[in-house]
């Protein structure tokens, strides 16, 4: 293995400059080994990433190593990133020489032995197999579905994710063997900076962070701004509840991002680039660090790259964690060592950003798109997608859906296809209620709106937005009011406190929703009045915050509230007028009754009730005064005879 690495290191310029067509047969063979087209021994891959580690992938890995050493099998074990199919993890792959790669699902430490016993005698345990991966150079397995045949993968178009789960993220050589860094070398040798910006502009790639601004245009603005220093910042501070698209990319294919950043730095004339990543993503941090070290060692980063006179340095900075730092001006403040508070725009960062210099801030997904566009051309990129939105988009599909994970779909696919075809519908065959698109400042989409296509403009016209790409399915057991309250609490907590509409407004909105989802506690009588007054003000308040807040966090804070009131009005009415949560999620709206037959008068509920709402004497059935009851549920939890029932 090490000799292969050395050979590539020596011939790196040839390999990358000749656009992968290697004349030297010896090297070509070695690249094909790294691509696992021809392998002498069996190769076992296992997806190790944040989500699979939680599913127990480390134990599985140990079991595999143990199996190989005790049975004395010649096989390479390779740790890859995750495939993105979270609900089937841990996923392992086995490739025997000359045969297609087979993926197995939900492989815990115990099942390693019988899966391997079978496959090494050319048999396959059918209930553990996920799929086989098509390769024209290898023999297929019989009766095993191909990856493209599975519903989860059938409608996906995996460009950004195509290496995730297959290559070793810590090996730059595997990435190079699959065509990596070609685009970067092509850019710095063949194209001037302006040409790269033009290519990206022509491809109509739009920022994947939520705003949808044309990336090429942003680069051009930065390139044409006169300054001594320029910067590129990659925003990897993904911290939406329920979104994990970036992390799959970072852990599964870090070199793709590094190449994207390198091209962006070259195109904008920046010699320093920062990756701003959440500090708790340790694995992604380590893999990125290794990727940068390796790229430096091969001369792909650093000073005077390939004698072209281009200098590019990439530095990783760990974000200390604040949701508002996803906003670009707040991110810059945080990088400058200040409190992460946004400032007014313009001037936009592309003109005046980090340290007062022109700064391009792009999302991980946006930058990961760049190498392919340079390699295959803008026309290829524009092939998929709709009139105004090109390419593919990553979504993390979660909530009450059967197939959970990160999916990459072409723009223009309908939300319905994502939920019911890729996701295979709602878990446990429950009824679908709503789809939440875009995290805590996103929107609720009701069932009759699911036909809408993924497209920046079409979604905007219907009053929705893509956001960062979180899709959460809510089934009939979820309470829309409660989820809205959860999001309002989240934004109120994460508001940086700089502008009044966001700081005070989100707090008031969350207070009003609190009063909607609980019974009056102090019994003074004003609370009912306050509640009605508050509810009447909600829409106006949302409007004010939207129009007057300083940054994106505040402007979008009321989105879930507004869309839930629009599409799920009846649920609000049940909570406000009937004072009932029919799905029993809002605990404090429950009403309790004592079943006289089961109550033996043990008196515990009488003693525990904080509101003195229970009356009765020892050994006689007790009674709850419903007007006094606040629905705290202490009596319900403490009754040993199931005498207290929810009505």
């Amino acid at each position: 293995m090490s000799s292969i690495e050395n050979d590539i290191k020596i011939n790196i310029k040839n390999i990358l400059k000749n656009s992968g067509e290697c004349s030297n047969k010896e090297i070509a063979d070695k690249l094909s080994y790294l691509k696992r087209e021809s392998i002498p021994n069996a190769v076992i891959t296992i997806g190790i990433g944040s989500s699979s580690i939680i599913a127990g992938a480390v134990d599985t890995l140990n079991a595999i190593k143990n199996y190989i050493s005790t049975k004395n099998i010649k096989a390479d074990v390779i740790e890859t990133g995750n495939l993105g199919f979270c609900s089937e993890e841990p996923v392992i792959g086995v490739q025997l020489p000359g045969k297609n790669l087979v993926l197995f699902k939900r492989v815990d430490a115990k099942s390693v032995e019988f899966i391997f016993d079978a496959i090494f005698s050319n048999d396959i345990i059918s209930n553990k197999v996920l799929c086989q991966v098509h390769n024209s150079l290898h023999h297929p397995w019989e009766d095993i579905p191909y990856m493209e045949d599975l519903p989860f993968f059938a409608l996906q178009r995996r460009n950004l994710l195509r290496n995730c789960g297959f290559i070793n993220p810590e090996s730059i050589y595997e990435y190079i063997a699959r065509g990596g860094y070609k685009s970067f070398v092509k850019s710095i040798i063949n194209y001037p900076c302006t040409k790269v910006c033009e290519i990206i502009e022509e491809s109509e790639l739009r920022g994947r962070g939520g705003s949808g601004f044309l990336t090429g245009l942003k680069w051009k603005i930065a390139l044409t701004s006169e300054a001594n220093n320029k910067f590129v910042i990659c925003n990897a501070d993904e911290s939406d509840p329920g979104a994990f698209t970036n992390i799959i990319l970072l852990e599964g294919d870090p070199h793709r991002l590094i190449e994207g950043i390198a091209i962006a730095s070259y195109a904008t004339g920046a010699d320093k680039a920062y990756i701003y990543i959440r500090s708790r993503h340790n694995l992604a941090y380590q893999r990125l660090n290794k990727a940068i070290q390796d790229a430096k060692e091969l001369g792909l980063l650093g000073y005077d790259i390939f004698n072209s006179g281009v200098n590019i340095n990439i530095i990783i900075k760990q974000s200390p964690g604040a949701y508002v730092c996803g906003e670009e001006t707040a991110l810059i403040a945080s990088l400058e060592g200040k409190r992460g508070m946004p400032v007014t725009r313009p001037p936009y960062p592309a003109v005046k950003g980090f340290n007062g210099m022109p700064t391009v801030i792009n999302n991980v997904e946006t930058l990961a798109n760049i190498p392919d566009i340079i390699d295959k051309g803008p026309a290829w990129f524009k092939n998929s997608g709709t009139f105004s939105s090109k390419g593919t988009k990553l979504f993390s599909l979660g909530g009450k859906v059967k197939n959970c994970g990160v999916v990459e779909v072409p723009m223009g696919i309908s939300l319905k296809d994502i939920v019911f075809k890729i996701g295979e519908g709602v878990k446990d065959d429950n009824k679908f209620k709503a789809l939440l698109i875009g995290g805590p400042s996103g929107y609720f989409v009701p069932e009759h709106k699911l036909n809408i296509e993924i497209d920046y403009e079409k979604l905007r016209d219907e009053g929705f937005s893509i956001g960062t790409g979180g899709l959460v399915v809510i089934d009939e057991s979820g309470c829309i009011v409660e989820i809205t309250k959860f999001f309002m609490e989240f934004t109120a907590r994460e508001s940086c406190g700089k502008c009044i509409p966001c700081r005070e407004g989100t707090k008031i909105m969350s207070d009003i929703l609190h009063s909607v989802t609980r019974k009056p506690v102090n019994g003074s009588g004003h609370e009912t009045l306050e509640r009605f007054k508050g509810v009447m003000q909600l829409e106006g308040l949302a409007d004010v915050i939207k129009n007057t807040a300083l940054c994106g966090l505040g402007k979008n804070a009321a989105n879930p509230l507004v869309s839930s009131m629009k599409w799920f009005k009846e649920e609000y009415e049940e909570h406000i007028f009937d004072r009932k949560c029919y799905v029993n999620v809002c605990k404090q709206l429950r009403c309790f009754k004592i079943d006289a037959e089961n109550c033996n008068g043990c008196n515990i509920c009488f003693q525990k009730c904080p509101e003195k709402a229970i009356i009765g004497t020892v050994l006689q059935p007790h009674f709850i005064i419903s007007n006094k009851c606040t629905g705290c549920g202490i009596c319900y939890d403490n009754c040993k005879f199931s005498a207290i029932v929810v009505v």
């Binding site: 939680i54 509840p241 329920g242 994990f244 900075k317 200390p320 060592g337 995290g439």
Partner: protein, 156 residues
């Protein structure tokens, strides 16, 4: 004892450049586990920043701790998927159990609770971790046994 270590961290950064504040604080916390009063005073002199500014920055972010005793972190996911699977009940229970272990005095706490937005395991929620041990599909009932097991294992 810590003074020299903090000096060695500071030496890596240029004098008076406040833009490195967050990275210095991160290194201090990695080294001694929290942000101590002494370290803030040292940083203040080194970067010529008032201590109040340093606390202003440090308290803005979730990562920094000021508590001396904390040795172990319990993380619980409050992503939307976990929330749908009733993670709020789990969080209540963990808070309650930790309050029993930690006692009432803040400076004596051994465990600290971190509520994180997403742990990338949306199909297995609710999820919580005690240091490096993962618990998936966690109901409030399993919190106490899990903590007891951890305490026994680590001899706390």
């Amino acid at each position: 004892m810590n003074d020299k270590n903090i000096d060695s961290i500071l030496k890596k950064y240029p004098v008076g450049k406040s833009e490195n504040l967050i990275f210095i604080l991160q290194e201090v916390q990695d080294l001694i586990g929290y942000i101590s009063i002494e370290s803030v005073e040292k940083i203040s002199k080194y970067l010529s920043l008032p201590t109040v500014k340093i606390y202003g920055v440090a308290t803005f972010y979730d990562e920094f701790r000021f508590n001396t005793n904390v040795k172990y972190t319990v993380k619980v996911c409050e992503g939307t998927s976990c929330h749908l699977n009733k993670s709020s009940e789990l969080i209540e229970e963990i808070k309650y159990q930790l309050s029993l272990i930690n006692g009432s005095k803040e400076e004596e706490q051994i465990f600290c609770l971190q509520i994180v937005p997403c742990m990338c395991a949306c199909d297995k929620g609710p999820v919580f971790t005690i240091e490096n041990e993962y618990y998936t599909f966690a109901s409030p009932e399993i919190v106490k046994p899990a903590l007891d097991k951890f305490i026994e294992k680590n001899g706390i």
